[in-house]
Symmetry: C2
Subunit: 578 residues, 2 copies
């Protein structure tokens, strides 16, 4: 059977399978979500109105035996940025969709009433049931109950209380292999878009799924083998390597050492106490407590950077505490206690909040006087405001820029309305170029210059060097391509350094598609995705003035280097040219 699109019209609660258009054949993941959003969504529509659409698409090789390929993309017009959005997650859900040969779910329209629905998707149909009993409930309990109701083999995607508030910092939550609501397509308020339409959960049951069609088995196998070899060889990705041993939080000490770990709402770049929330310390604690480390966020991942953080005795498992989350809810709030961070991360997952946006929000909330920096208990109480749907909760659920405006805070670390991740651009310039110029709003994953500037992957670059347009562009283009494949972005560490790894990636694509792509085709493929996204943003009113960091990065010096962000506007504009 050929690939299909599941089109879900919430105006009349109708869901039907459609043929997958032939000219979309080479599109998956981000390439597919961005193409559909650009084709079908009015760039000037209200992002929470009937005319926005939400697209969920697994990558091209997702669902196959290719290593570390369990990613999916979620696309829409973002209520946070006002531009196009692709948010990405690693979850078994992606593989189930792919095996069912569902290339994309397109969610459109808007249910008129105030009811919420669950959409259950099986091989031959998609049906709605009421989800009202879950409204106002936390996702940890809810996902447990959903697995009880639908069976523990299903995949679940859903939105929490933050999305019920239509908060612009609400993400879409996917289950991890343990069934925990901890794998997020977090950024840009995608959760609010789903909730605005009246849909609370999608449950997929892949019973009877034929699996992903592979047109050239030999090319595929050979490619997967090459990639596997690269991943198991490279220091960053290999078993027992940095990511496998300590997870993404291995970066805490490294970035703090580099003076680029933002502290207390971006008011300093280094604090000795950061070590207390490092990946090394965390791995130790997880071992003591009986959590899991390493752990795969989806079956078939061989990097296995994930984990299950829990309370002592294995209680209240949270899922992974990513570097970004640890930083956002930790040092960025002056919090250096992993138990506080774990509780905050659990609360975010439970409420359906993007941890980066929530941490950015908490930083400005603290600067605005809602809590003292460092007060993890008060921070947790503030998240209760979201749970209780109070006016303050409505402020906080709308993210960093919104909370800053409500509280009169002018140090607002956002680009295109989206909160900055865990690298201060005053200390590491290339990532700042990515923050400024990606169509996504501030997003480290869009062109991870840290790899080269700090980790020496894919070459080396001085973090303080301000000529970073080429580095950022090359990474953004490569990333867009990877986001289309369904491979985890972390394969880039290996394939940037090991040419055979990149060949392997292309071979697996050729295997699935029956194509004859070469490594030389990758940049053009990636650029075409960026072009589509920039076309949408331009039609939504974006200009080069949106490709700038906020004023304070250019005016306030950051300790310990005491530098500002001094990449010129000309250099920023050189990323995408005139």
């Amino acid at each position: 059977m050929p690939k299909r699109i599941l089109r879900v019209n919430m105006n009349n609660l109708e869901a039907k399978f459609e043929d997958f258009p032939a000219d979309f054949a080479a599109l998956g993941g981000r390439a597919l979500t961005s193409t559909i959003v650009e084709k079908e969504v009015d760039p000037l529509c209200h992002p929470l109105g009937a005319n926005n659409k939400l697209v969920i698409a697994p990558g091209l090789v997702t669902g196959t035996l290719a290593p570390s390929s369990g990613r999916l993309s979620v696309g829409c017009k973002s209520p946070l940025t006002g531009g196009i959005k692709e948010a990405n997650a690693g979850t078994p859900f992606s593989q189930q969709l792919a095996k069912m040969r569902i290339a994309a779910i397109i969610l459109e329209g808007k249910h008129k009433g105030s009811e919420y629905y669950t959409l259950k998707v099986t091989m031959d149909k998609a049906e709605f049931t009421s989800a009202d009993k879950w409204v106002g409930k936390g996702l940890y309990d809810t996902y447990q109950s959903l697995f009880k109701e639908y069976g523990d083999k299903v995949g679940i995607c859903g939105v929490g209380i933050a999305a019920e508030l239509l908060g612009a910092s609400s993400g879409i939550c996917f289950n991890d292999p343990e069934g925990l609501p901890s794998r997020y397509a977090g950024r840009g308020g995608v959760g609010a878009v789903m909730a605005s339409k009246g849909l609370k959960f999608i449950v997929v049951d892949d019973t009877g799924a034929p699996g992903v069609e592979i047109l050239n088995e030999e090319a595929f196998k050979e490619g997967a083998q090459k990639l596997r070899k690269a991943l198991t060889t490279h220091d960053v990705t290999k078993p027992g390597g940095a990511l496998n041993s300590y997870g993404t939080s291995v970066l805490v000490n490294i970035i703090n050492e580099a003076g680029g770990l933002p502290q207390r709402n971006f008011s300093a770049g280094q604090d000795d106490r950061s070590e207390k929330v490092s990946g090394e310390v965390k791995a130790e604690i997880i071992k003591e407590r009986g959590g899991k480390r390493p752990h795969a966020c989806n079956p078939g991942c061989i990097i296995q950077c994930s984990e299950v953080w829990c309370k002592p005795g294995g209680k209240d498992p949270v899922g992974v505490l990513e570097y970004e989350s640890v930083w956002a809810l930790g040092p960025n709030c002056g919090i250096y206690d992993l138990d506080d961070v774990g509780e905050l991360n659990r609360a975010c997952n439970d409420l359906g909040l993007d941890t980066i946006e929530a941490g950015g929000m908490m930083g400005v909330a603290m600067e605005g006087g809602l809590a003292n920096f460092g007060d993890g208990k008060k921070a947790l109480k503030l998240l209760d405001e979201v749970k209780n749907k109070t006016p303050l909760g409505r402020i906080l659920a709308n993210g960093t820029a919104f909370t800053a405006q409500a509280m009169g805070v002018t140090r607002v670390p956002v680009v295109k309305g989206q909160s900055l991740p865990a690298y201060d651009p005053r200390a590491i310039k290339g990532i700042g170029v990515t923050y400024a110029t990606t169509p996504q709003g501030a997003d480290h994953t869009a062109g991870y210059a840290i790899a080269t500037e700090i980790m020496g992957v894919g070459g080396t670059a001085d973090p303080m060097d301000t000529s970073k347009a080429d580095l950022s562009r090359n990474l953004q283009v490569a990333t867009a391509a990877i986001d289309a494949t369904g491979y985890c972005l972390f394969i880039a560490f290996a394939v940037l350094d090991i040419p055979e790894g990149l060949e392997g990636v292309v071979d697996t694509l050729n295997g699935v598609l029956g194509a004859n792509l070469t490594v030389a085709d990758v940049p053009g493929y990636g650029q075409s995705i960026i072009d589509v996204e920039r076309k949408f943003n331009k039609a939504a009113g974006f200009t080069e003035k949106d490709d700038r960091l906020p004023e304070f990065f250019l005016k306030e010096k950051l300790a310990p280097h005491n530098t500002v962000f001094d990449v010129t506007d000309e250099e920023l504009d050189r990323v995408w040219g005139p």
Copy 2:
């Protein structure tokens, strides 16, 4: 003595007089504020940061005996729109500044601490005193006390509690001739900009002021005479005419009849109950209660459209209830009780809120479930939230778009972030073209197409005709010029129909400036102001995509005409050309 600029640096609490640049000689009011903002303010600065500036400038003929010329302009980068802002008020304060030959006050920098200051300006100096005792207090009591402290001959400009919250709907309040805090440069959050710098009040004492220099007395007198004749002849502006008898609220019945008076957050264009809040009914009640009607908002106005609304027995005088305020806090909230409207208007004045933005906010707040449409008492309670600086108050003080986002409301009547005034663009297309294309954000005064479309002034035009680019442009250009002169915009009613009146305007300008302008110079002068404003907005990232009405006006039909806003994008873009 020549004209001067008073430059106030809040970084170090330094205020000093500067020479008025020779190349600014022909600039006053909006021409001067927009020119200074464009020259001195980084378009990408944070509007509430140290690098924004607030400019207050009386018009070119303000302070003279020219009739109805007591206006001033307030300019800055707007925290509501993110673009350039000119907000305009009629007040004795403008005349005092002009007589002191202060062409502009430029407020810059930002006081570091949390203290608030009063700046007292006399002929030869400007001094700071603490204003902390007024923080958190309502402006009605405060202005009474200030007049007691500084003498009843001074002029006062100040900001209220909404501005202390840095709310984007806070205005700057000027006293009326009765000393009431009722004359507002209301729009665009200018109050927040003043408060952000640490300044709460400016008190001017014009003792010893030389008055406005008039270089050609003869031309001036002749012009003033011609204009006076036009104003006292035209049906709209003459004594006993429409404005003089009923104030701006004369429009309630007219616009309701036309099907363009937005009801309950722009969900209908007509409601029979609107008559209860009409200008005719209001004038009757004012007479019964012992308020004042007609009344001049500044000495020397011969239109005298203003009034003093009060409670029975003359108690709790509010000042004027303008048409816009009556609509915003009345029909737009489903409220048809003038006492409720009066109380709401008084609360807005007391808090320092722009009534249009506050009414737009209340409309979306009601749609979002914070009160039932029509519940004036609950609306008043909601404004108490601002007074009490609660989280909900912080939401509401930030205006319509902000409140809509917090409450998840998607029918959001704003352009460039600023709330629409009292004319639904689906029923009256030309005013919609102005809302969309003025650099100011939705603003009826920027190009008052209603004059021609509804009142038959300056020609006639079918409200439903969608070819309105020329009408709107011509009016926007003429308005910009008038806003530079210091004449009240309402002189336009007379001078659009009576050529000698317009000649009179130009003659008075020639008188003051010693120039030889002709009527033919007016459009070019107005266009140059718009050009400066559009240059700023472009540098701030605005494009033609910002010159659009929100989606719902294009999709939802408005009763009773059951039409959408169907002016094409091409027609909108034709206003300013490619």
